[in-house]
């Protein structure tokens, strides 16, 4: 029976029974309705983005619906600087992801597999950059980068050109920095249920530590590493606030959008946004499908 017909049948009943029915109805549906409404609320801006990528705005700003058009989809990069900005975004995200995933995975391995002094402190230290507002991360990075060009002792030690003027280097440094903590947390969560007996079995069978790592440990923690790399890549390609502080004259896609929105907002922004969204969702869907296919026999407990 549908919700509507249930509610419809409430009319014309004795008052007592009616209020009981109403109570039963609310008990059953209220949480579900709230949940569905919240999910719709979360997806609404994404939906608006997709719809407005098919808009042909009347003025310079793609804020009001005018008419349906696929022009922007046919010329997605047809704006000065947009193609360069997108290429920079992808390059930065790729490099930062590789570096952050390696550094973060090493930390996660140490934190899960070894007990050592200072472990709790390290956990907290890893957490703090995630809890720091992005504006503080960006502002402090800008401070140090400028200081290498203007303040002693940095000025005489550090050769100019590495950190200042700001550019690709400084964006990548910043992105690796804020990604490391996320990689550590993600990989750590995946390898917590790791069965150490498998490694010991390999060692008993004569494998040395190096072989054991590559033949046993790495394949088992690979899903966690892939998940962390995907997260790092999506955080990096979307980052605006920190990048805005550390990019100087170089544009990434979000920085380019921020710059253009003062004068105009072409539907191409929505097209690129939609494309990134669809690719990311596709990658996650593929990753999930791939893992569920190959992961059935894996002894690792994913939690």
């Amino acid at each position: 029976m549908t919700a509507a017909s249930r509610l419809g049948r409430l009319r014309g009943m004795p008052r007592d029974e009616r209020s009981n029915r109403l109570a039963a109805f609310l008990d059953r549906w209220l949480l579900k309705v709230l949940t569905a409404a919240t999910i719709v609320y979360l997806m609404l801006p994404v939906l608006v983005m997709i719809i407005f990528s098919f808009n042909k705005p009347e003025g310079k700003f793609n804020f009001v619906w005018a008419e349906f058009s696929i022009d922007a989809w046919l010329n997605p990069l047809n704006r000065p600087g947009l193609a360069d900005a997108l290429a920079t975004s992808i390059l930065v995200a790729a490099i930062a992801t590789v570096i952050a995933t390696i550094l973060g995975t090493l930390i996660a391995l140490a934190l899960v597999r070894y007990s050592f002094r200072g472990k709790n402190g390290t956990n907290l230290f890893i957490f703090i950059p995630m809890a720091t507002p992005e504006i503080v991360l960006g502002a402090s990075l800008l401070s140090i980068f400028v200081a290498t060009a203007t303040q002693e002792p940095f000025k005489s030690i550090i050769p100019p050109g590495i950190f200042f003027p700001l550019g690709l280097n400084t964006i990548i440094i910043a992105h690796v920095m804020f990604n490391i903590s996320y990689v550590v947390v993600t990989v750590k969560a995946r390898i917590q249920g790791f069965d150490r007996n498998l490694e010991e079995a390999a060692m008993d069978l004569g494998a040395n530590e190096w072989v054991t790592f590559w033949k046993v440990t790495f394949p088992l923690i690979r899903p966690g590493i892939i998940a962390a790399a995907l997260l790092a890549f999506s955080l990096s390609i979307d980052d605006f606030i920190i990048t805005n502080f550390t990019s100087g004259l170089v544009n990434t896609f979000p920085v380019w959008v921020w710059g253009t929105i003062r004068n105009n907002l072409p539907p191409q922004v929505h097209v690129i946004g939609t494309a990134i969204f669809l690719i990311a969702v596709g990658a996650v869907a593929f990753g999930t499908w791939f893992q569920s296919r190959s992961g059935k026999a894996a002894p690792i407990r994913v939690r």
Partner: protein, 350 residues
């Protein structure tokens, strides 16, 4: 033998060294440099005079003084957004954890899916939705006539708080979900065996009072009415209170059971605090929502910091403001860690 033991002990430190070094150089050192700038004088053009030549505490006291409005906006908007995130996020997290069933993974995925769109574009979407020619006002103003014809949302605190609530909702839902999911179901069954049933009257009363208070807080915080000024309209406050009380009462009476209020909710409280911290922190530091959805009077501390750093090159004041933010955050994390431990925040100590 002893030598290999010692070298084994060094392994975790060696594994962590490169990553921790990166965080040291590009997280700790920059913050120290920012602290140094905050005590300095001068601008990028004139050059900086730094400690120990000067110790310019004026940047801190003067900064708070000069930008007290922005600090107030940050705290009020960030606080309201956190409360709204909690009210929207808790039922969702509870629903996913307890009633998710086979939809659990998909629902969790939909909570994080907005992150696959650029933060800026999501905010632009809200600018479209809330705009004067947008779909929301077309509905409530032109079709339903519940607001006057000159009513607008963009450029008001309501738009900023709405944007913040949306952006940081997943920051609330995910930690809440983890902590609610950990609640031992057997405890709830035990409570039900001991005659814990629905909590109609109590839930309705508590929910009604909470709803009324929330509506008052929203009206005051969003500036639709002021506590003392001449524009304090009693009817407006009363109507808001009644609406809040009715909605809160229905939700409290029908959603909240005795076993929830006595077992599930207390057990999830550490998660509630952790999630609130993780939502409040980015919310008070944000400037994109205030910039795109607000007006000059709704600017938050973040707007001042980014303007001073990137447009005016006035580093000392901006660094002081950023450092005040950072200090407040470190303080709240330290307080939390002291009271409730670090597990819930850092995702376990293993």
């Amino acid at each position: 033998m002893r030598k290999t033991l010692r070298s084994r002990r060094a392994i975790p430190y060696l594994l962590m060294a490169p990553g921790l070094l990166w965080l040291l150089l590009f997280f700790v050192v920059p913050n120290l440099q920012m602290l140094l700038f905050s005590l300095s004088e001068g601008t990028l053009r004139t050059g900086f005079t730094t400690p120990p030549q000067v110790w310019d505490w004026q940047n801190f006291t003067g900064g708070i003084d000069q930008f007290s409005n922005n600090f107030r906006n940050s705290i009020v908007y960030g606080g309201l957004a956190t409360i709204l995130c909690f009210l929207i996020g808790y039922p969702l997290a509870y629903s996913i954890a307890f009633k998710g069933g086979r939809w659990k993974s998909l629902l969790l995925f939909m909570v994080i899916a907005p992150f696959f769109t650029s933060f800026l574009i999501r905010t632009i979407s809200w600018k479209i939705i809330l705009g004067n020619d947008g779909p929301l006002l077309a509905l409530v103003r032109d079709v339903l006539h519940v607001v006057p014809a000159n009513f607008s949302i963009l450029g008001t605190p309501l738009a900023v708080v709405g944007g913040l609530t949306y952006q940081f909702l997943p920051f609330m839902v995910l930690p809440l979900y983890i902590s609610i999911d950990k609640v031992d179901r057997r405890l709830i069954e035990a409570a039900q065996d001991l005659y814990a049933g629905p909590w109609r009257r109590g839930g309705a009363i508590v929910g009604g009072i909470a709803g009324a208070l929330l509506l008052i807080a929203l009206q005051l915080g969003l500036g639709y009415t002021s506590a003392t000024g001449e524009d304090a309209t009693i009817t407006g406050i009363l109507v808001g209170m009644v609406i809040g009380a009715v909605v809160g009462g229905v939700i409290g009476g029908y959603l909240v059971s005795q076993s929830f209020i006595r077992v599930t909710f207390p057990l999830s409280l550490p998660g509630v605090f952790a999630a609130s911290i993780l939502t409040f922190i980015p919310a008070i530091g944000d400037y994109v929502n205030a910039q795109l959805l607000g007006s000059p009077t709704t600017q938050m501390v973040g707007n001042v910091i980014q303007g001073r750093f990137l447009a005016q090159n006035d580093y000392p004041i901006a660094a002081a403001l950023a450092f005040i933010l950072m200090a407040g955050i470190l303080l709240s994390i330290a307080l939390y860690a002291r009271l409730l431990g670090t597990d819930e925040l850092t995702g376990g100590t293993a």
